[in-house]
């Protein structure tokens, strides 16, 4: 049985897709592209798909991950193309690698987020960021299913900086862009919790809702605060596997 890990996006207006909506759309895309899925046992069999750590509704993402199990092996690159063509534009399948390693979910240690704050002067954002980073802990509140919850939003933030706004940005007026690296912890700290933290420490109050995008997730290098490609180990294993076989075929007269 083959397992394939995919990276997909939630871009533009389709960032309003909820995780449930995505699941339905993805299962339909599997049928449209006639992917030979493995099914769960039971009265209503389900195709075997596992989703990891989905970004909240309304948040864009360049780096969502899932894994599928196939009943028959397929070429990952071809599969990526087919699935991508079967999903609406914006839900794009951008990478596919055959799984050669275990515990993929644990490799998703941290996320890189970009937060666009329209109407906020970069200098104000800089000041707020400095105040936030200087604090040891920053208590924030969030409404959860079990009521209001208070927790620290500072501890999980490994990096937080103000980036330059792109020159081709639509519209005028001030705009600050934050880039942050947040460790996946329990309770999960989300970009809006960090924004609540900026409000709490430095009174930063963006006039319009922030546009949030997850740029990456994967293993975290604590030293540098960088996040690396979580599919790399699978890719390396795949290359290693194919170069050994290729090497074997090309070595004439190799004793067997």
């Amino acid at each position: 049985m083959q397992r394939i890990r995919l990276r997909y996006t939630k871009r533009g207006r389709l960032r309003f897709t909820s995780h449930r909506d995505f699941q339905r759309a993805f299962e339909r895309a599997l049928r449209r592209s006639e992917v030979p899925m493995a099914y769960s046992a039971g009265f209503t069999p389900h195709p075997k798909v596992s989703y990891a750590n989905a970004a909240p509704t309304g948040t864009g993402s360049e780096a969502e991950y899932l894994e599928i199990q196939l009943a028959e092996a397929r070429d990952p690159a071809r599969l990526r193309e087919l699935l991508d063509a079967s999903l609406p534009a914006g839900l794009d399948v951008v990478d596919a690698v055959e799984a050669h390693t275990s515990s993929f979910a644990e490799r998703l240690e941290a996320s890189v987020w970009e937060v666009r704050l329209d109407g906020v002067e970069p200098a104000d954002a800089e000041r707020a960021v400095a105040a936030f980073l200087a604090a040891g802990t920053v208590e924030v509140e969030r409404r959860t299913k079990s009521g209001m919850r208070t927790f620290d939003a500072r501890g999980a933030v490994c990096r937080l900086e103000v980036a330059a706004a792109p020159a081709d940005r639509p519209g005028d007026g001030p705009c600050a862009i934050l880039r942050l690296v947040v460790r996946h912890a329990t309770p999960a700290v989300r970009p809006d919790d960090v924004l609540s933290g900026l409000r709490a420490t430095a009174d930063l109050a963006p006039p319009v809702p922030a546009a949030v995008t997850r740029l990456a997730q994967g293993p975290l290098d604590e030293e540098t605060g960088t996040v690396t490609d979580p599919l790399a180990p699978d890719r390396d294993a795949a290359t290693a596997a194919s170069s050994t076989t290729a090497g074997a075929a090309m070595a004439p007269g190799r004793p067997s």
Binding site: S18, R20, D21, R28, A29, L30, G58, P88, P170
Partner: protein
């Protein structure tokens, strides 16, 4: 002229429920460049996205129009009150979900009314769009507001708000309208809106309410309806598509990201129905029967599944088991998709043993949970009145077969408030349910058998033999249903196995007012809208008291009231508000059928017996189109 309003809308979306319903981008949706098209349609299903998106009528017209060179169509749906409030606050107009263009920028704003309960939502959309509510106040900057769908067969209650209406099938009609608009625009829009509407009206197939004057008698009845422009026909005809195989739409059904009420690949297997159930407006106005061929159906299902990835196929029509080749269709599809985990469903079926075979075929690989039948009338006498020719023995025999085949639950649909009905007729619904359970226990040898009785209030509809009938008042409906409930609950032996679901009589009265209303009812709709009325098809939004209060304020000064429109019986001579809209049915034939109903005389189906002169075929120049073709569905081989 038609800049996307998405940037403004986007800022509001994080604050509303289920924002995904407003962003579009569905699989198989189309966005054409604005400037490349000279005729532009905004199509609306005036209900929430989750109900409107799966609507076949809108989906078909959207595709038919977008396939044409130089024509574009985009969709718009009703926004929920949370977004409506924000749009008003921030000045965001009613928008299309495809390219988020303001509805007012389009040439035509076409609304699909499968029920009258969408009228207040139309007013909300017009107002949000910045289009004047009344047709007389519109200018060249406003689109032509066009109504279609079943409710448009009596557009009089919304006559002031629409510019025109089309009755019947829309596929060809929208293309004809497009050509007229294109020519008029190319000529530089001579004569303004008036000229365009005149050109449309003169085709005989587009109703422009403003071109007709309604005169009333002192007692409130209509004296006559007269065209007030030359060249405008006395009566406007319905449209009928004659070869469904030539119109295999939707070819690329829309696949929503949001969850909707109906997520399956639907194929209309035929249009029309001549069973002649006297309460059924849909059956009367869609005559004659036109079947799609078995091979046409097979092809649509195949292409549609490939285009969507849906896992269920619905074979739609008014009475799907009546297709001349339904057995082969069901078997052919079940064989073809046996390994693909594709489910099949038939939404509308009649009661006979054959249907159990069919149901078995459809559930070959699945669970046999519930079967649904619609006897509609509780007593034999009632079923004669409504011309639903099913005997209790037929039903019991069918049910016995069903339970014998492993089905455990039967759902029975009935109506309450049918003409001449008494308490006794309705109480017999309880007896029928008891007999069904008793038979089920006997055949299955198990006590784990259920029968659910579901009852809707009858609303007399235009263009049916019951268009003259008095509607039962809400109080009487409720009282009758309470007696039935007590009878069922009081049954010691069987009562616990019978589920009882019913609607109270109040919404039916509002539906009745809107169904058989005339132009004076427009004032009620407007008053309800202005006092906040929205989403009347939704229990949690509908307010009977608000409707009655507004009706009192607006109708009484005009010398009529709600009872006058609903519980009053009409006479032969009365000019009905929709008489000038020609569904093809001969009014005298309808009247005779009404008299036959009162005499408990049934009529046959013209598919299997000689024509009974309902008038449609000669008047509309149509014929019955049915099989069998004798062809079979071939299994498809999957190319890997």
């Amino acid at each position: 002229m038609s800049e996307s309003v998405f940037p403004q809308l986007e800022a509001l979306l994080p604050h509303v429920q289920k924002p995904i319903q407003y962003v579009g981008g569905e699989l198989n949706s189309t966005v054409k460049p604005w400037e490349s098209c000279d005729v532009r349609w905004a199509l609306m299903y005036p209900d929430a996205y989750e109900v409107g998106l799966p609507n076949q009528g809108v989906m078909i017209l959207y595709e038919v129009l977008n396939e044409r060179e130089g024509v574009l169509a985009e969709r718009t749906y009703s926004v929920w009150p949370d977004l409506e409030a924000l749009m008003r606050e921030h000045g965001v107009p009613q928008f299309t979900v495809d390219a988020h263009r303001p509805v007012r920028a389009f040439d035509v704003f076409g609304l699909s009314f499968s029920t009258e309960l969408g009228y207040t939502n139309m007013l909300t959309a017009l107002d949000l769009a910045g289009i004047p509510l009344e047709a007389k106040d519109r200018t060249l900057d406003d689109p032509i507001v066009l109504a279609g769908g079943h409710a448009a067969f009596n557009p009089e209650p919304i006559a002031d708000f629409i510019d025109c209406a089309v009755i019947g099938d829309g596929e060809q009609a929208v293309l004809e309208i497009t050509e007229i608009i294109r020519a008029w625009k190319a000529e530089g829009r001579p004569g303004g809106r008036e000229e365009l509407l005149l050109r449309l009206a003169r085709t005989g197939g587009v109703y422009v309410p403003g071109f007709y004057d309604v005169e009333y008698l002192p007692d409130g009845r209509i004296a006559r309806v007269v065209p007030n422009r030359s060249g405008v026909p006395w009566r406007v005809s319905k449209h009928t598509v004659m070869d469904l195989d030539e119109w295999p739409y939707p070819k690329q059904p829309l696949v929503p990201l949001a969850e909707t009420v109906h997520e399956r690949m639907s194929v209309e297997i035929f249009r029309g129905c001549t069973r002649g159930c006297r309460f059924c407006q849909a059956g009367m106005i869609t005559r004659p029967v036109r079947e799609r061929s078995i091979t046409g159906i097979g092809e649509m299902v195949d292409k549609g599944l490939k285009a969507t990835g849906f896992e269920e196929v619905g074979l739609l029509s008014l009475s799907s088991a009546d297709h001349t080749e339904i057995g082969d269709i069901a078997k052919g599809l079940a064989d073809r998709y046996e390994d693909d985990k594709i489910g099949l469903s038939l939404p509308s079926t009649r009661v006979d043993a054959f249907n159990v075979d069919l149901a078995n075929e459809l559930t070959r690989n699945g669970r046999r949970s519930g079967l649904t039948f619609a006897p509609e009338g509780g007593s034999e006498r009632m079923r004669k009145v409504i011309n639903k020719m099913v005997s209790e023995e037929d039903l019991i025999r069918t049910v016995a077969t069903a339970y014998g085949n492993g089905w455990r639950q039967v759902k029975l649909y009935f109506m309450c408030g049918l003409p001449t009905e008494t308490d006794e007729d309705v109480l017999q619904i309880g007896d029928m349910a008891v007999n069904v359970i008793a038979k089920g226990r006997e055949v299955s040898g198990s006590n784990d058998i259920r029968c659910t009785v579901s009852i809707g209030g009858f609303v007399p509809k235009p263009h049916t033999p019951f268009q003259w009938a008095p509607q039962l008042s809400a109080e009487e409906t409720d009282a009758r249903l309470a007696k039935l409930r007590d009878k069922i609950r009081g049954d010691k032996k069987y009562g616990r196995s019978i589920g009882f679901r019913y609607h109270d009589g109040k919404p039916g009265i509002v539906e009745g007012l809107l169904s058989r209303g005339d132009r004076r009812v427009g004032a009620v709709i407007r008053a309800v809208y202005e006092s906040g009325g929205r989403f009347d098809g939704w229990r949690e939004h509908f307010s009977y008291d608000q409707w009655m209060k507004c009706a009192e304020e607006t109708l009484v000064p005009q010398g009529v009231d709600v009872a006058w429109y609903t519980t009053r019986e009409r006479t032969y001579e009365e000019v009905l508000p929709w008489d000038h809209l020609d569904s093809g049915l001969d009014k005298d034939w309808l009247w005779e059928d009404w008299q036959d109903a009162l005499d408990e005389v049934e009529v046959e189906d013209c598919r299997w017996t000689p024509c009974f002169d309902c008038g449609v075929c000669p008047q509309m120049d149509t014929t019955i189109q049915i099989g069998p073709t004798g062809k079979k569905l071939l299994p498809l081989t999957v190319v890997k």
